[in-house]
Amino acid sequence: MLGDDGAGESSHAAVRLRGITKRFGAVLANDDVDLDIPAGTVHGIVGENGAGKSTLASIVYGLHAPDGGSIEIAGRPAVLRSPGDAIALGVGMVHQHFMLIPTFTVLENVVLGIEGSFRLRSGEADNRARLKDLSLAHGLEIDPDALVDDLPVGLRQRVEILKALFRGTRILILDEPTGVLTPDETDRLFANLRAVCDAGGTVVLITHKLREVMAVCDSVSIMRHGRLVGSRKTSETTPGELAELMVGRKIGQAVRMSESSVRSPVLRVEGLTWRSPGGAPGLQNVSLELRAGEILGVAGVSGNGQSELLDVLSGLSGVQEGHIEFAGRRIDRASPATPAGMRALGLTHVPEDRHRRGLVLPFEARENAVLGRPECAGPGLWTSGTAMQAQAERLIARFDIRPPEPRLPATAFSGGNQQKIVLAREFESEPVVLLLGQPTRGVDIGTVEIVHSRVMALKERGTGILLVSTELDEILALADRIMVMSGGRVVGTVPAADATVRQLGLMMTGAGEGAGA
């Protein structure tokens, strides 16, 4: 962009990328990306899933080698063969999935790789003192001897940031840092990031949440299909403009919910308790009622009992205490139900993790189209290619699945289209109750619109839908009532019309329940 003599300019850029290109097989993850990140600012990189944000960050952190292009860090050309090279140049990264050893203490995790001496003891006092100084300087208090396994998510992230700062990081990259945080923890994180900036550091925030970009970033770059499509100062842009740049076209606001008349309950749960063998919170005395044509949103930070609730309701886990009333049957410890039994009664389930539970990835789309629906696969014990083909074509047409190839293995579809296969399969039988887990996780914005409109259409036809999502925006857009879970308990249920993000956020931390966050 600038001439070769841009030496004066480069002193202002913490990171300067020119023509960065990266290919994974047939996918062009980064396509000729030019990017300047000004020093001393919080810079956002936004884009849909698969837009290439994380790949770009991994390249700057030395995890992936680019196929082409050049990198300058703090004004100097850099060759990054491994994260070690990047760390040496002052680049640190907080990964989306924490890179912490659960069985190690905070201090052990922080010093891993730069312990200072062969014998751990001889460097320990120095390391401990440095960690304490860093904590105080940035307002990131932590007990250095706590086991990471015992820490809540917000504190684990704090350890990750400290780990980066401990390595002398001046450029801190955070990859989707707020996915696992409550709104309150998110606010605290943003304050910490500001503190890092005030101390002279540069922060790169990778996210798909525009609200966060507007809240904390000074400037933002937008990526689409591997390309950088624009950069803006946040003071001079709007979420609407950013969303358009991300998607490449105007998008309508979330589907407006229609007021459906109150109908009869189709699913009733009383005092459901489920203890997980691993010691996770499980479920404690959960009661709920779901009506026909209603969407009940289940909000909460991931890992607070939502997954267990879906498992028990779908019959995957047995009822231990309490009971479920569904389709005239009472399901409890004495008379359990199997997943097949629940399906036969008219309850279908879109699992949260489509890769592990929703699809058999190496199988063809048409085989996946009949999973759990043997009646569509062919007569009796046999499977018929024609029947499966017809079923798959039906689903493809209804949900606009692309490419429309029933013989392609599920792995060959994009995340959004994989999700459409699962949704189409479960929606097609017009269930009485639908358990809907994370319907748009890892799905591009275009598909989100389609998914939301189909969910609303199914609700219109009278299906009762239990929607579990960690995206508050999604729940607020779709649900009629919102039930908040924390630590395996129901904190409360509020009508969606009256709910605010702040109120839900407080409930998600278990406020007023005495349950530790």
Binding site: G62, L63, F104, L112, R119
Partner: protein, 327 residues
């Protein structure tokens, strides 16, 4: 009274001897598995070490040459395992089983080719084995009541490798829990991605773990054929590698509990033949076979979660793939 004491000491003495290869192998497995590499090939490395030690001692006349050969052969097998599992991210159980089968066949074939002795090596003479070491003042202290025999019978009079086996436990503990190398090695066995993300090479760590395991198995092999025994006998490892693996799981991948598991299994091994034909009140003759399978039964019961839980390193058996394919 004194005779009972002497009997107890004799049993404990036997325990130390029988537990020695278990301790070496279990420590080998501990280092390897803490780095994330399943080591079901302990048995094969032990057997190969035993054969190499006996063969080279026979050929050279020095047990030290045999020891060196044992270390080398078992290290080579460890490297084969590493090449398959670390470099090429192969299935670790399969590679380990292959090493066991390879060692089982190769030792007999090479023994036949070299010595024409039915798969055995010729018996070793007194100078060709690791001799018992008398600790200082044994004769002076022997006369002391209780403590004297304890020192003379149990603590003194073992060969070098028995002492080395007992030393290997605190050494491994120190290496893994008190050094930088150990911290990184254990991290590689829990979450290798974290190690990679701080710029430390996971393959290098795991190779080092596997090399240490190879060396320890070599020591165990040399003990079997040139210290405990006098020559190589086909299949002489007799499941000790698997028993060590059981001890490793039983001891939850922690040095001290693993040591106790090895000693417990060694004790059972010692008393089993002594119980042959002994009538217990109410029970009748002791079923010796039952005593022999006890270590495995106890391990299975432990794994089933009946008393406590045994939690393996989280990344155990999972190959480390550095670059994620696709976005």
């Amino acid at each position: 009274m004194v005779e009972v004491w002497i009997d107890i000491l004799a049993v404990l003495d036997g325990t130390a001897r029988l537990a020695t290869p278990l301790m070496f192998c279990a420590m080998a497995g501990l280092v390897s598995e803490r780095s994330g590499i399943v080591d079901i090939g302990l048995e094969g490395k032990l057997l190969a070490g035993a054969f190499a030690a006996a063969a080279f001692t026979t050929l050279s006349g020095s047990p030290w040459a045999g020891l060196a050969a044992a270390l080398a052969s078992s290290t080579v097998l460890a490297l084969v395992h590493g090449f398959a599992c670390i470099t090429h991210r192969g299935e670790q159980i399969i590679s380990g089983v292959a090493i066991n089968i390879l060692a089982l066949g190769m030792t007999v074939v090479v023994a036949n080719a070299l010595f024409r002795h039915g798969g055995h090596t010729p018996a070793l003479g007194a100078g060709e084995r690791f001799a018992p070491i008398a600790l200082p003042l044994v004769e002076t202290l022997r006369a002391l009541p209780l403590v004297g025999p304890l020192y003379a019978e149990l603590i003194s009079g073992h060969n070098l490798l028995v002492y080395a086996a007992f030393m290997s436990v605190p050494l491994v503990w120190w290496l893994l829990w008190r050094t930088r190398f150990g911290l990184r090695l254990r991290a590689a066995g829990e979450l290798p991605e974290a190690v990679d993300s701080v710029g430390v090479s996971v393959p290098a760590l795991r190779y080092r773990g596997i090399l240490i395991a190879g060396l320890l198995c070599g020591l165990a092999g040399a003990y079997l054929s040139t210290a405990h025994g006098a020559g190589f006998v086909r299949e002489m490892s007799a499941g000790k590698g698997f028993l060590a693996l059981a001890a490793l799981i039983f001891g939850r991948w922690k040095p001290l509990p693993v040591l106790f598991a090895c000693l417990l299994f060694g004790l059972l091994d010692t008393v089993a033949p002594r119980l042959q034909g002994v009538d217990l009140p109410l029970i009748g003759p002791v079923p010796v076979a039952l005593v022999s399978i006890l270590p495995y039964v106890m391990t299975v019961v432990l794994l089933a979660g009946f008393f406590g839980r045994s939690i393996a390193p989280r990344a155990l058996g999972r190959p480390f793939v550095k670059e994620h394919q696709g976005p």
